[in-house]
Amino acid sequence: MPGLGTSFGRGGATQTPRDMAESDCIVIMGSNFAENHPVGFRWVLRARDKGARVIHIDPRFTRTSAMATDYVPMRSGTDIVFLGALIHYVLTNEKYFKEYVVNYTNAPFIVKDTFKDTEDLEGLFSGFDANKKSYDQSLWDFEREEVKLPDAEPKTLSDKIAYATKKGRPKTDPTLQHPRSVFQILKRHFSRYTPEMVEEVCGTPKDKFLMVADALAKNSGRERTSSFAYAMGWTQHTVGVQMIRTAGILQSLLGNMGRPGGGIMALRGHANVQGATDLPTLWDTLPGYLQMPIILRKHDTLTDYLKTESKPTGWWVNTPKYMISLLKAWYGDAATDKNDFGYDYLPKRIKNHSHYNMFKDMYEGKVKGFFCMGQNPAAGGQNATFHRKAMAKLDWMVVRDPFQTETATFWKEAPEVVSGEVKPEDIKTEIFFFPSAVFAETDGSFTNTNRMLQWKEKAADPPGECRSDTHFTYELGVLLKKLYKDSTLDRDWPIKNLTWEHYAPNPNDGWKVHEPNSHAILKEINGYTVKDKKNLASFLELKDDGSTAAGAWIYTGVMPDEHTNKAAARKGDDYLSLGWGFCWPANRHIMYNRASADLQGRPWSERKKLVWWDETQKKWVGKDVPDFAAAKAPTAKAKDEGIGLDFHSGSDPFIMHPDGRVQIFGALADGPLPTHYEPVDTPIKNMLYKQQHNPAAIYFNIDKNKIHGIGNDKYPYVMTTYRLTEHHLSGPMTRWLPWLAELQPELFLEISPELAGELKIKTGDWVTVETERGKAEARALVTRRLQPLKHGGKIIHEVGMPIHWGYAGIAKGSSINELTLMVGDPNVTIHESKAFTVNVRKGRIRQEV
């Protein structure tokens, strides 16, 4: 999410798969699009049929490579070098879209002289605290003009907050020549990312790299657009967020953002991953990407929180409206301005509570009970052995899944239990297994990869005692509320006042199993007026005075009145299909689409027209819902004293950001510009800097989680992990299904004939893969789809394994997470399962060869 959010303002994919059919060049990197998103991939094929270049850059030749016009190999974990070299190519050969770069990005902004680049500090930026392993980001601010405020007194809470936190406008040099302009800093930062460096670090032949650079340059500009698609191949690295940032910078330089067939397609790995982060199931945000309060920032009171989190300029000036409406949705009449709308009752984070820290706390006995719903940590958690050890320390655990997953049965079936190392009677955890309903057995919506909510109707009652997660959660809430009904303790206020009754199932819904009222849930998410419970049609109607309620402001408009559920709309057409489902925000399909027009509001070209200013109607019109103030003329002047969108001119398309522009230079925990660091397990040292790994990476000092480091002779091969079309995640939804189990029945290791020859391995042989974390056994699949790559004088072999297996189900096998490492990227604490090192030997785990 922050990869795209830092650059453009929102974390969602900027375009839609359908729109990719309009691309002239599609670069798929960090994604196996065809195998893992087969339905969306049809649009890539449509583009290819129309003559587009489809380039797949990947360590493995996959089913996606098979469909691409060009395949380019590389070593896992070196994407920033490849992408950085593309930036270098575009800058040095003047292939960037100058008018776009000068006016729509922060390239002309001037950075304070307290900023020092990785070029000056051997791979670090200024402000690094080696003890805390974090940066002081204030050193990276821009030089700013004096702060100006409107003459009028602030009226609303949002205005007051904005006045109090307003910053001056960044100083700029539109000629891009100032040595501390973002443009010049960028040029210098990527100066060592050359085609030769790509060959040495990525192992990609120089001519293949130059082919990609040339294709992108030729297919960008006024007349043509290129798009990028990525997935977990970019996210699952200790520098994953910065990989996405690099692509964001490149696409902005080429002028491909907000335009038809242009953008960055973040491919989500599950039907509802986007929905799960929107609402969210994340530990650090509240619905609609509001920050979860944390004691480490000034979040003591609601006002403190709003002053810290809302932005005086740009769209986030509205934060108070969204936050207060959320509190009203949750606590109803009990939330008043007298009690800060119940803000104090929200739990405050005290540290990083991400998945790994939660399991670390579990292992240390700090977590007593655990609800495991839609997750399978015993097979799917990095360093799976540790995950099982942690769960064995719980008092109780509830597992909800359609089948008895590895997590439900670890106490009797885990490898360490089978081997006798751990005895079931020593595991004190009491496990409750609740069979869950599947998706066709309940109403509801999915929010797909292009931010589109699509409603689905219940088709059948779930069998026996199976119930949906919604049903379970609702019933649990009812019981808890009953339990706390008479409590006089202040701490029980939130559970007593949580609005819940309106979810009650309708006993006359015609089914035997009555689900909670999904329309009532959708209405709450959408938002309504508190006084007369009238649905809201747009988030523009949300107020910061407690008169509106909305569970997730970004979804407002999905249910504009009591009888309209836009998520269930099914009117398609031959392009964006605005009448099909509902794309947040406000049914905008291509985000930042103001950038599809020039400064005067005219399309950059007839071929690539999308949204433009209509002078007669005095509004923005076109093929998509404009992602811009509807009637703000392109010639509108920016107001230096203004707050919110008034601070932006009519030609500042990136409305979420304080300055209305792409943040080419944008602060993240590991720096304002992407920098290549080697994975924490790597065969070679960092060729670019003295600094080897991401300096801000999060390490977990726990049992059997040892890092291999650089060039460890015991673990000489690079491993990458991935999915297959035939299975999903750790397999809870697929390995139990006979029709899918037979298609990919066993774990396998993909290995090149060159390495297989050295190790005397043939296809079908059993092989054991080892790390300091554990062992996994698999069948060998010797294939030229994997290849050794030359890095300078050194040959590096890469092998690969799919992630889907575990010890339960019909299709059984080792979990590759016996091998993986718990380590975190500093921005989102994601692991690095896409690039680590292993040893491979012939034979099974318990049969030395």
Binding site: A34, E35, P38, V39, F41, R42, L45, D49, G51, F61, R63, S65, A66, M67, Y71, L724, T725, E726, P738, W739, L740, A741, E742, L743, Q744, P745, E746, F748, T763, G764, R779, A780, L781, T783, R784, R785, Q787, I810, A811
Partner: protein
Amino acid sequence: MAERVGMLIDTSTCIGCKACGVACKEWNELPMAPEDKVEFKGLSYDNQGHLSDTNWRHVKFIEQFNEDRSDSRWLFLSDSCKHCQQAGCMEVCPTNAIIRTEFDTVFIDHDTCIGCRYCVTGCPFGVIQVSDIKGTAQKCTLCYDRLQVGEQPACAQACPTDCIEFGEVDSLMKLAEGREKLLKSQGYDNVRIYGKSDILGGLNVFYLLLDKPDVYGLPENPQLPQKNMMKSYTFSIAGMVATGVLALLAFRSRRMSHKADADQDQDKAV
């Protein structure tokens, strides 16, 4: 006859996802292969091996890489019964259990099938297998039951890239010719249609291939069973048996091809 329907399998857009095979099994209630046969086969990403009584559809994975990988490709082909105009299986069936439907597809009637296996050897594509459990010959029905209620076959419905296109054969052929032309213009020099009238009078389920049929394990020039029989008889008997026998066989052969031609003419008339 209502219309001659079939499918175009466009290998240029097949991504090898196997959704067609799963949809086929789900609709036709075909079981997983016997548990002892479910194992890693090492045939690229194919763990089913071939068409069978439980696999009415099977996706082939063909990896072709030279040593330095400068020439590399991974081809996919979703295979099934071709519903031939001159169907060998039909010809050899002694109980007339294999019939041509009102959709001009080839259908095995399980009430009259005696499981004799003649059709297994009669099919030049190795499509049919007799089920040990059911005792009858098994193959794709082109979802006869779905066609009867105006639905397309399950595989075509499930295909995410429209690589399996269902429809009236003549219009599918036009579509295929357009695709062939487009792909040729994009540098796929060896692209071709497999299953025009030169192959067993035409295949209702036909293919757009990116290369020669043998690359995909399809016979270049598949023969009807009686032609094979003729050949083997020629080898074993020619020296000793009177020419009358040969004449008799030749007569039979001619009659059969006449019959097929007549069938074709009849199709055109309809």
